[in-house]
């Protein structure tokens, strides 16, 4: 009797993994597009997508099957992307006064220019708009991508970004203005 129960548990876990893989297969194309628009280049997009699915699998027991899987996935992707952007900006502003206090600390300065250049180069070949997206403030970019590329309503964007509809309205407006200013400096929208 116990072995039947144990087998049931194992089967249930296998079923959950199979279900997750099916959902992943159904959504990976759309999710890749979203990841690319947020990350700005193919390599970072794949890293972002992989981290998103692994984290989604880790917390799959919390997924409410009544809700669309992509909404939940975008919420995870948004968190990862914004956290990563904040970490990068913190790395750039680390205090030099702390140097030498901790001998074990390795002073490896990130080279944001090199990464940005590679991303810009790849995006320039593809689309000027992508360059503009990559240059945006992460929170504004995420809101604009979710609304204008993924076609989410403000309420759905608010849900994905874990914020209020009022904040989403402001982020989308400021994001579009930021993008417009960038494109005007680059010579307009003409492609």
């Amino acid at each position: 009797m116990l072995s039947t129960w144990v087998k049931g548990l194992v089967r249930e876990r296998e079923d959950r993994t199979a279900l997750f893989e099916r959902l992943m297969g159904d959504t990976q194309r759309q999710a890749y597009n979203m990841a690319y628009r947020m990350a700005g280049n193919a390599s970072d997009a794949e890293d972002l997508l992989q981290e998103t699915y692994v984290r989604a699998f880790r917390f799959f027991h919390r997924y409410d099957e009544a809700l669309p899987f992509t909404s939940w996935l975008y919420r995870i992707m948004t968190n990862i992307q914004i956290d990563s952007a904040r970490r990068k900006s913190r790395l750039k502003t680390v205090s030099l006064d702390a140097a030498g206090h901790d001998e074990s600390r390795a002073w490896e300065f990130p080279d944001p220019e090199a990464k940005a250049d590679a991303a810009l180069m790849e995006a320039t070949l593809a689309e000027p708009l992508q360059v503009g997206l990559s240059a945006m403030t992460p929170e504004f970019r995420t809101a604009v991508v979710l609304a204008d590329i993924e076609g989410l309503s403000y309420e759905e964007v608010a849900e994905a970004m874990d914020t209020s509809v009022g904040t989403v309205r402001s982020r989308i407006h400021r994001g579009r203005k930021q993008l417009r200013c960038f494109l005007e400096r680059q010579g307009g929208l003409a492609q």
Binding site: L2, S3, W5, E46, Q50, Y53, F57, L129, Y154
Partner: protein
């Protein structure tokens, strides 16, 4: 309505995300303010350009790489859970032993009986598709981890 107020609501107006009252106020302002009308047109242009961005093709082999990453995560989770359950089993055994000692000291006439031959099961888990039962050893106090098939249970 001022240009500043109208400007703040222009994107939401373009997206149809304003309430009826707000939308009417913005529309009335835009109708008589050429600067705000021009701003509205630029926002529409940006929005349409974003909507028209082509859908990107995932690189070849992406789905296989994603599946491999998820399966590696699943394997890591299975392996880390057994030691955790063994720890819970060990705590249960230690707790039971302390309780027995306390009872024995309180009343010498109430000696604990010899342990039953069937050890209690503390937890169940699986590693690499093999189910395990984590029980408690009534003699040694250790926590053996045995395949579920062991002993036909």
């Amino acid at each position: 309505m001022t240009c500043v107020r109208a400007g703040q609501g222009l994107s939401a107006y373009v997206d149809g995300e304003l309430s009826g009252r707000e939308a009417l106020a913005v529309r009335a302002h835009v109708a008589q303010c050429p600067q705000c009308a021009a701003e509205r047109d630029r926002l529409i242009e940006i929005k349409q350009a974003l909507e028209a961005m082509p859908s990107l093709e995932p690189p070849p082999g992406l789905e296989a790489r994603l599946k491999a990453a998820v399966r590696a995560e699943a394997a890591t989770r299975r392996q880390t859970r057994v030691p955790a359950l063994a720890g819970i089993g060990a705590c249960a055994v230690a707790g039971a032993a302390l309780a027995m000692i306390a009872l024995a000291n309180a009343d010498p006439s109430r000696r604990p009986l010899a342990p039953v031959s069937q050890p209690p099961i503390a937890a169940v888990d699986s590693v690499a598709d093999q189910a395990y039962v984590i029980g408690s050893d009534p003699l040694g106090g250790a926590t053996p981890v045995l395949p579920a098939s062991f002993g036909g249970r």
